[in-house]
Symmetry: D3
Subunit: 133 residues, 6 copies
C-alpha cells in the first residue's frame, strides 16, 4: 500500500462543554498542525499516488473555512465540542468527499483510505482514519 501525506496548519479558538474538560471549558485556542494522508494500492502512469498540488490546494480550501476563527461560532459545529478527534473526523469527511467528486483528479478517485492527524501540542495529537469509497 502506498501513502502520500501533505501538511498544513490552522489557528483556532474554541471552548468545551462538560466538567471533564476542566480549564479547557474556558475560551482558549490551539494551533492544529494537520497531516492528511492518502492511501492507494497503486501509482498512476507518472508514478504518482495523487497530484500533490491538488491535494495541498484542497486541504487549504477545507481548512480556510475554519482557520483564524472561533469554532464556537461556526454554524456547522453548533452543539458540538470541537475536540481534536472531532476536527480530524470533520476534515476527513471533506477530503473523502473531494476524492469521490474527482476534485483530486484520477489519483484521488483511486484513494481507498484517508487518515487525518491533528497535532495540538508537542505532547498530544489525535486522528481519524477510514475507508472512503
Amino acid at each position: 500500500m502506498y501513502s502520500l501525506t501533505v501538511c498544513d496548519h490552522i489557528m483556532i479558538a474554541h471552548s468545551f462543554s462538560g466538567a471533564e474538560f476542566g480549564p479547557a471549558q474556558r475560551l482558549h485556542g490551539a494551533t492544529f498542525v494537520v497531516e492528511a494522508e492518502f492511501r492507494a494500492p497503486k501509482l498512476d502512469h507518472l508514478n504518482l499516488l495523487i497530484d500533490i498540488g491538488l491535494a495541498r490546494d484542497e486541504l487549504r480550501r477545507i481548512l480556510a473555512a475554519v482557520d483564524y476563527r472561533n469554532l464556537d461560532e461556526v454554524p456547522a459545529f453548533v452543539g458540538q465540542n470541537t475536540t481534536t478527534e472531532f476536527m480530524a473526523h470533520h476534515i476527513h469527511a471533506q477530503l473523502a468527499a473531494a476524492c469521490r467528486a474527482g476534485v483530486l483528479g484520477e489519483g484521488g478517485r483511486a484513494v481507498t483510505v484517508i487518515k487525518v492527524l491533528l497535532r495540538e501540542s508537542p505532547l498530544a495529537w489525535a486522528a481519524f482514519e477510514g475507508d472512503i469509497g
Copy 2:
C-alpha cells in the same frame, strides 16, 4: 477509527546480555520518549475518545516505576534484556490493564487497540501494537 496519543519520557540506565549487542553490553542509558496511542471506533457524547487528563496521569504513574532507574535492578525485569521493543510491550500491557480496569473511565473501556512507541534516539525507535479486550 479514531486515535488519541499522549507523550511523556523517561531517563533510564540498563545493560544488555548477548554478544550481538556489542558496546551496548556495557551499562549505558537512554532517554525514551514514549508515545501512547489509544484507538476506538467512536467518540463519547462529549466528542472525546478518552479523558486526556486521565490518560496522561496513568501513563506517568506507569512510567514513574521505571523513570530515573537502572532497569537491570528492577525486579520485574530480572533475566530480561530491556530493549526498546520489550519496554514498549511492557508499557502496553500496563496501559491495556488500566483500560480494562476502568482507570481511564468509560472512554478507556471502549478502547480496542493500543500502540506504544518509544523513541530512543532521532535515528531509532520501536513499538508494540495490539488489541486489548
Copy 3:
C-alpha cells in the same frame, strides 16, 4: 557562556487590532510552545546552571496565569495586541523578576541573560532576549 533551556506550552485565544493583521483580527487561537533559556558564565559546585525543577515549576506558574484563556480578557493585556513577540517579552519579564527575587535559588541569581522563544506554528516563531540584573 553556559545555557539551560526548559520547555512548556500554553493554548490561548486572542484577537488583534489593526488592518495589518488581516484574518487574525478575528478571534482565533494558538498553541505557543515556550522555550525559556537561562544563561550564566559559570556553574555552581554541583555543576548546575540552575535547578531545573525550580525552573520548570516557575515557568509553569507564570504560564498558568494565561493558559487556557482568552488573552483579550486578561486585565494585564488590556489595549495590547498579544502578538507572539509581545508574549515572549511578557514571560521574559516575569522570569527575570523570579531570578532576581531568588525564586530560582542561587543559580537563578547568577543568571545574566534570559531568552524566551515562543513557537506559534511549525513555520513561525518569535523571541525576546535580554540581560537581567
Copy 4:
C-alpha cells in the same frame, strides 16, 4: 505486533516528466529522510526484533547506490519518474529481499511487514508498506 524503525537520509537530484509536475519538471533535488520500519509478531530470545546494527548497515548499503546521485542517470530508473512514493517502493523491495536472503539474520527472516517512509520536506512525505514473505 512489534516494530523497529531505523533512519538514514540521501541527497539526490532528479527531474520529472509530465506537465502535472509543473516546475518539478526541471532538474532539481531533494534530501530524502528515510525511515525503514520492520514488523514482526514476536521478539527473539534476546528480546530483539532484529539486529539494529545489521538493519542500519543494510539500509546504508541500499541507499549508497543512489546517494549523492542524479537519479535520471541511474540505469535502474530509466523511463521512470523517481517520485517519493516510487523511491519508497524501490527501497522496500530491496529491504524485503535482504530479509528473505538472511542478510538481516534470523530476526530478518521473521519480519512479516516492512514500511519505508521518505520525508521530502517538512510538509510532504510518502511511504510504501507491504507484506514480505
Copy 5:
C-alpha cells in the same frame, strides 16, 4: 532584543568542485529548509516586529528564483560552490536589501540583524548572521 522567524523550503540540484567534497562532487540535490530570523530592539505600535505576511512573501519571492532548479546553471552562481553556508549568505543579502528598500514596511527598516539558517538534513545545517543597515 526581539526576533521573529519565518520558514520556507526549496528543493535544488547542484554539484561541487574540489576533491574535498568527495561524492558530493557528483550532481546531487537537497531540500533546504530555510529559517529567516529578523531582529530589532523594539516593536511597533501594534506590537509587531515586522509584518509576518510581508516577510513570508518576500522570502518566497527570493527563494522562487532558485527553487526547483539546478544551481550549477543559475547565472548568479557561476564559478561558485553553492554550499549551504554560501546559500545562507546569498539569501541574507537579499533579505537585507529588501529591509533597507522598505519592501518589509517600517518594521523592516527597523531590523538591525538578520540570520538565515538552512537545514540540509536532520544532521547538518549552516547559517549566516549579520548586521544590516
Copy 6:
C-alpha cells in the same frame, strides 16, 4: 558571521550527588543529542566554513570515548556531576583543542567560536558556547 552545525548522539548512564537532584541521584541514563556549531567570519576558497566530513569524524571520535558508558566510572569525570551543561563544556573543550591542533584542517583553524548543545529530552537542553583561539 557564518556557522555550520553537525549532529550526533550518545547513550550514557550516570548518577548525581546532591539532594537537589531528587530522583536523579539514582543511577539512570540519557540519550544526549549533540549539536556542535562552528562559527567563523569567512568561508574558504571552496565556500566551506569547515570540512563537514572532518567535523563529523572528530565529533564521533570525541563522543566514542563516552558513548555506551556509565559516566560515573569514566576516570576523567571522577568527583564531577556529569550534568548536561557540564558535558556540553567537556565536548566544547575537546572540539576547541581539535580546531587549534589542525585536526579540522585550515577551516578549523579559522573557527573563532564553538557552541555545543546537548538535548537530554524534548523538554530540556543545555549548551556551552565560547571563543576558541
